[in-house]
């Protein structure tokens, strides 16, 4: 069985980055695919990757992630605004969606024209 866990924006908005990452990784280590109702910033994604790799052992092999609604127009003022806000307050949770799942189950993810494709590994049994 493949389990998706939806973490809503209202739950996430009161969390700092470290708490959010632990929340995500707890579910991913239980072989759940997390649908996060926000866009993770690059520094949060890097921390998530680092944490996932720290947890790698013979059973847990890491994560696959996909960020929807990627903002490619990052101006210096936008970047500074985000950093100052994140340093002084809780990180701003931007609209979007981040999907994170265990790489033992997910082979890859892609999105196009409003569709998300999650490719599972052949040995994954879908009941």
């Amino acid at each position: 069985m493949l389990t998706f866990e939806f973490i809503q924006h209202k739950e996430i908005k009161s969390m700092n980055t470290e708490k959010l990452i632990e929340r995500i990784m707890t579910s991913v280590k239980e072989n759940k695919i997390v649908l996060l109702e926000c866009k993770l910033e690059p520094d949060e994604r890097m921390k998530l990757i680092k944490r996932a790799i720290e947890l790698v052992d013979n059973d847990f092999t890491g994560i696959e992630l996909l960020v929807l609604n990627e903002d490619r127009e990052r101006t210096i003022s936008k970047i500074l605004k985000t950093h100052i806000r994140n340093a002084m307050f809780l990180p701003e949770r931007k609209k979007g969606m981040t999907i994170i799942g265990p790489s033992k189950i997910i082979k890859g993810m892609e999105h196009d024209f409003g569709k998300v494709h999650i490719h599972t590994k052949p040995q994954t049994k879908l009941e």
Binding site: M46, E64, L66, I84
Partner: protein, 210 residues
């Protein structure tokens, strides 16, 4: 969070005082892009020695390696830097992938362990580099979350970036795809293995680092 702002300010001041001190030039990217092959090419060209070993098996480089005081020259200009070759950053490491490369189970598990430490070290070193060369395999899809995350991080800290589209000697190489994925950056297509277009690479490096 305070560290993040500190990093941003550090990047800002580094850019103000750029060219006045030796820079730390980091080679970053996913595994098997050719970072160490390029590091070896640079080291061979300018100091006459190799930096590390290369292999077709992923995660061959599992420790950050630093080669100090490399001086390069191009068009009458000189650039001095410490070259930092990093293990490839990945979101997953499965010892079973190493088994497929013909390793025994014990060796594969040990390699996976070393590879995880390498990825973590690479991420830690991101805070310490002044200029970064992103080395991508131009035969692969550049729109990966690892690439976007590395570049997004450097962009957020205002660190100068040069993107190298490596392995242009291969038929499937597609530089245009890399250029369209990261239009805000200089992209230079090279073959680190055969030295193809390496002069243009050095010229672009001067532009980005100076």
């Amino acid at each position: 969070m305070i560290a993040r702002v500190r990093g941003l300010l550090k990047g800002f001041f580094k850019r103000i005082f750029k060219g006045r001190k030796k820079i730390k030039l980091g080679l970053y990217g996913p595994p098997n892009g050719g970072k160490t092959t390029l590091a070896n090419k640079i080291c061979n060209d300018w100091i006459g020695e190799e930096m590390g070993t290369v292999s077709s098996i992923a995660h061959e480089t599992r420790e950050v390696q630093v080669k100090e005081q490399i001086k390069i020259q191009s068009n009458g200009k000189e650039l001095e830097f410490n070259l930092v070759d990093t293990p490839g950053i990945a979101t997953k490491i499965d010892y079973e992938d190493f088994l497929k490369s013909g390793m025994k189970e014990k060796e594969a598990k040990e390699r996976a362990k070393e590879a995880t430490r390498g990825v973590i070290d690479s991420i830690k070193w991101l805070d310490d580099v002044d200029t970064v060369i992103i080395v991508l395999d131009s035969t692969h899809d550049p729109y990966s979350q690892v690439n976007i995350t590395i570049i997004g991080n450097l962009e957020a800290r205002d660190i100068p970036v040069l993107i190298v589209a490596n392995k242009v000697d291969l038929k499937k190489s597609d530089i245009k795809r890399i250029k369209s994925a990261f239009p805000q950056y200089e992209v230079v297509g090279i073959s680190a293995k055969y030295g193809k277009n390496i002069e243009e690479f050095y010229e672009k490096l001067f532009e980005v680092a100076n």
